[in-house]
């Protein structure tokens, strides 16, 4: 079984969950190395960028993994989501540039979600996909709005941006590939049960 762990803000809590579930996860020493793949008692742990986890699972290159709903939706990932985690929750929001100009261009790391949101709203606006800070794009008037995740709202305040609309409530989930789910039911049942258990204990 190969499990994908998202690097970045979700990595630590994710590993904690699996550790709590009694899995032999890579330790800090391992993680200090530049390696990204670890075999631990029959399970292969791979560390990939958070946005890539759904891709690995969808393609069956990983059997399971932990991914935020933002990335699951953006990739239209069809994997099952048997466990939702209490940590790392936030909101995806539509945010206006200082002075809240009319909505004409939206900078975002989530072009697909943003496009769908605008379409359902019937808004004719251009989506500008960015790799880096989208708040900066609003500040520099590249776009009239941005779509991004909001946790504390600190960044938004600092840049005098304006929260306008909640697009989705975001939480991390345990995701399991469909084929793996059907072809290895025992392994899957065990994995889900243990992770659920660990989450409940942690509560």
């Amino acid at each position: 079984m190969r499990i994908a762990i998202p690097k970045g803000r979700l990595q630590e809590p994710a590993l904690a969950v699996f550790a709590g579930a009694g899995y032999d996860v890579p330790d800090d020493a391992d993680l200090k190395t530049r390696r990204l793949v670890f075999d631990r008692s029959g399970i292969e742990w791979i560390f990939v960028k958070d946005c890539d986890v759904p891709v690995y699972v969808e393609h069956g290159a990983a059997d399971a993994g932990i991914a935020g709903l933002d990335q699951i939706l953006e990739h239209e990932c069809t994997a099952y989501q048997p466990v939702e985690f209490p940590f790392g929750r936030c909101r995806m929001m539509l945010i206006a540039a200082p002075g809240a100009p009319p909505l004409t261009k939206v900078a975002t790391k989530y072009p697909r979600i943003t496009r769908q949101f605008l379409d359902t709203r019937g808004v004719r606006a251009e989506v500008v996909p960015l790799g880096g800070s989208v708040e900066l794009a609003a500040v520099l008037k590249l776009t009239s709005h941005v779509v991004d995740l909001v946790e504390t709202g600190e960044t938004v305040r600092v840049h005098h941006l304006e929260l306008q609309d909640v697009i989705a409530e975001i939480s991390p989930r345990l995701i399991v590939g469909k084929t793996f789910y059907r072809t290895e039911p025992r392994m899957v049942r065990d994995l889900i049960a243990r992770v659920e258990e660990a989450v409940n204990v942690a509560r």
């Binding site: 891709v55 969808e58 393609h59 069956g60 990739h75 239209e76 990932c77 069809t78 099952y80 989501q81 048997p82 466990v83 939702e84 399991v176 469909k178 084929t179 789910y181 059907r182 072809t183 039911p185 049942r189 889900i192 049960a193």
Partner: protein, 287 residues
């Protein structure tokens, strides 16, 4: 060597080697079907969209090539055999003919990637029994499917069970789709839904909600056994579509290679009541 030409999404030529491979696979299936006395039919590569409108959700519809013909009718290139077979057959069936054992083969062409999946031309071979709603027919088709690939693993279920539960609360659908209990699921159903999700559910657990389906599954289970080839997944509610009862998927070497089930109301839509069960294998030329 000149640069290979590009082809429209979903199609490409097969050179002698690929063709030979394709024909070998075809031959293997055709022989098996003939041995089981299935007769072949040929279905058109294009057809009107309108007769199938009620069967295809707009998302799926947009995955096929569609265009307006010279008469102004919307036409689509073949993307699913089963409903086409029903439309083609329904008017010509005489009662005496039933049951019919039929098979078909050919490409289905999709213009749009489904989600992360690639755009792929799909060569499909399928078989169907029309006019026999018996458990024997279910078993016959399950066995036939299992004989067509080495070491298959076949997951089966009856879609009417989940529908019975979903009929009581749509939250059940979400829970079963995500495989996670959600707040919306009514108290009365939390136990069974929980068991379904966790995989503990047995036929006895679901029997109260869909007695007939439960009985059929028992009969089927007894017939096909649980020797590791066939396994019952009561939580499986994927792509119910026009299916009305038994639903199954065939996996081989870790990939889904076929799917099928029973659609006893499909022929009715084309003017002729007739039970039917069938399956379709997909030979992806990329793999």
């Amino acid at each position: 060597m000149a640069a290979k030409p590009r082809y429209p999404t979903g199609v490409h030529p097969l050179l002698p080697e690929e063709t030979a491979r394709r024909r070998r696979i075809e031959a293997r299936f055709v022989d098996a079907f003939a041995a089981a006395s299935f007769e072949e039919v040929v279905l058109p590569i294009i057809d009107y969209v309108e007769p199938y409108a009620s069967l295809v959700d707009s998302a799926a519809a947009k995955q096929s090539y569609r265009f307006v013909d010279r008469e102004g009718d919307l036409v689509a290139i073949r993307a699913d055999f089963t409903p086409m077979l029903a439309r083609a057959l329904a008017p010509s069936i005489a009662d005496g003919d039933l049951p019919l054992r039929l098979f078909y083969r050919g490409d289905v062409i999709r213009v749009e990637a489904s989600r992360l999946g690639a755009n792929r031309e799909l060569f499909q071979i399928g078989a169907e029994i029309v006019g026999d709603d018996s458990v024997d027919a279910d078993v016959a088709m399950l066995r036939l499917a299992s004989d067509l690939v080495p070491n298959p693993s076949i997951v089966y279920n009856d879609v009417s069970i989940a529908s019975a539960l979903i009929a009581q609360s749509d939250a059940v659908r979400e829970a079963l789709a995500a495989k996670r209990m959600t707040a919306g699921v009514p108290a009365a159903l939390r136990t069974i839904v929980g068991k379904l999700i966790s995989g503990e559910a047995t036929i006895d657990d679901v029997a109260p909600f869909a007695p007939e389906a439960a009985a059929r599954l028992c009969a089927i289970g007894d017939a096909v056994g649980a020797d590791g080839v066939f396994s019952l997944h009561l939580d499986d509610i994927e792509d119910a579509g026009y299916y009305t009862g038994l639903r199954f998927r065939v996996y081989a070497s870790g990939a889904k290679v076929a799917q099928g089930g029973r659609y006893d109301t499909l022929y009715e839509r084309f003017g002729r009541r007739a039970a039917a069960i069938g399956f379709t294998f997909t030979i992806d030329d990329l793999d």
